[in-house]
Amino acid sequence: MTKPPMAASTTAEQERISEEAEFLEAQPFDLLAVPVIGPLLRWRHSRTALQIPLLAVSVVMIIEGLVGPTLSPKNLATVLTWVHFRGALVLAILCAGNLFCLACPFMLARNFMRKWIRPRFAWPRVLRNKWIPVGLFAAVLFFYELFGLWASPWLTAWVILGYFAAVLVVDGLFTHGTFCKFICPIGQFNFIASTASPLEVAVRDPEVCDGCTTKDCIRGRRAPSSPLVVLQRGCELALFQPAKVGNMDCTFCLDCVHACPHDNVGILSRLPAGELMSDPRRSGIGRFSRRNDISALAVVFCFGALMNALGMVSPVYTVESWLKRTLHLNSQAGVLGILFAAVIVVEPAILLGLAALLTRAWGRVKSGWLAIAVRYSYALAPLGFGMWLAHYGFHFFTGLYTIVPVTQNAFAEMGFPILGEPRWTLVGLPKTVVEPLEFGFLLLGLAGSLLISWRLAQDDSHEHPVRAFLPWGTLSIILFLCCVWLMTQPMDMRATMLAG
């Protein structure tokens, strides 16, 4: 489906290609070259040092969730998970990259376990795709609504515990980074979101790799006397640095940085979302246009953002009541299931299918409609990310300081009121400050989606790029308006009225 870019036929196109070449050839910013931060990240135990505090916080959250206050706004497990963690995660992805996976506490527990338990099995070939994590991602969104996880410290603690258990079981049985690549729903969220990040773990000088014979970045650094002994792990997610493109499947673990004997891997700046504007063959992934599973991930990521925010506004209850009356349904799971299926399966199937058919007809693109839909589905990722940013950023900023009284309360409840009486009136930034940020995030996402669609259309239809672009540009604008409408609705802050 992907066609090689046509030779520059116009001055404008030549200028564009020239500008892009200049941008690509310019010396990128390298985070590893920054004083203090660079040496810290290049330290062999840097990841562990970042993981230990997060593991400690996870343990505190589990204990507090199980034995602490039952009221969600007063419990560290719920406040940290649903206010601070989610917001910090998306903001870190926006400003830098996939930093949560870098400091993932689950992987610290796994690495500890693997000192004694060596996995023996390879993940089945038929499951080496994203279908399971896409399903898990959708399931997480569904069960979050169904069980009102935000309101239950106890359930939140069990979700964290369950996550640890799943990591240990899967990676205790299967080799390499099976959980990260083929299971973890948080990881998939981070992977697709970080396609819009400004930083990427990448090769500094491709010519150095051309002369490399050991391929340590993927094989790991071996002991010279005993090649079976791995001194430094290579990429567990099968990303071969010289052929790696973008942030998909990259956990920022920095194993490749430590393994490269030529010190040729850095954390480099790049054009955010630029990796979605073309369709090269990617190491460990292949071409995006041939990966229906990753396309489905992008779709669930985008429409799931809408669904997750939809649960917070009052019109959803009207729809749910109507569904219950019309279908004579008394089951909350049933009503929610229908709503989820409508928003993250049926709606995207119709909208993307229609846009693909129109692009095929108007732009005279020769590919089939499904192939076009898959190819352009990635263009929706920035808009979806904008919506996640707007939503999670809202909770993060408006509840920024709630961590203070909740921590004060946790110490007081343990019998050590060393931080003083909880100041429950300490909340966060005012909505008047946060709301412009929300719309800024959405606009940023829209701009990214429009730009990617336009670039794909330029590559697909040299004669009629505008016609090829129009359906996807229109779809992006419609989805953007839906996001704006959602954000301007009076919040019902996740009432459980749908239970009836």
Partner: protein, 121 residues
């Protein structure tokens, strides 16, 4: 470490602090409850069903979603054992109202009332 922590915590899932000898019979108006000003009336009685008088009661409204601003209100005793407070529900959704009660003998008691499905305006 995680497993032992979790196992130690199992069975420790404690309910909100409350005093069994003090009960509260509350009502809220107008109905249905909407975002904005609502009047919460309640009667405090002891185990013998006698009114609890002279208590200082502060109400705290929290949303079930973490990270939202709580609202506070002081109750006034309108007749022996009967109290009334004006609470401003700042947005729609599920609320929990905590009654922080300081009785005339200095004893502190906490009770809780769920206010589900406050409609937005």
């Amino acid at each position: 470490m995680l497993a032992s922590g979790a196992l130690a915590a199992l069975g420790c899932h404690k309910p909100a602090d409350s005093a069994r000898d003090i009960s509260i019979k509350e009502s809220i108006a107008p109905q249905p409850v909407r975002a904005g000003i609502e009047i919460i009336s309640f009667r405090l009685v002891n185990a013998a069903n006698l009114p609890v008088t002279g208590a200082h009661v502060q109400l705290e409204g929290d949303m079930t979603h973490p990270g939202m601003a709580p609202v506070f209100a002081d109750a006034i005793e309108v007749s022996p054992g009967s109290y009334k407070a004006t609470m401003n529900f700042t947005m729609g959704g599920d609320w929990v109202v905590l009654f922080h009660i300081m009785m005339s003998n200095g004893r502190r008691v906490e009770q809780q009332m769920d206010v589900k499905g406050v409609a937005s305006n």
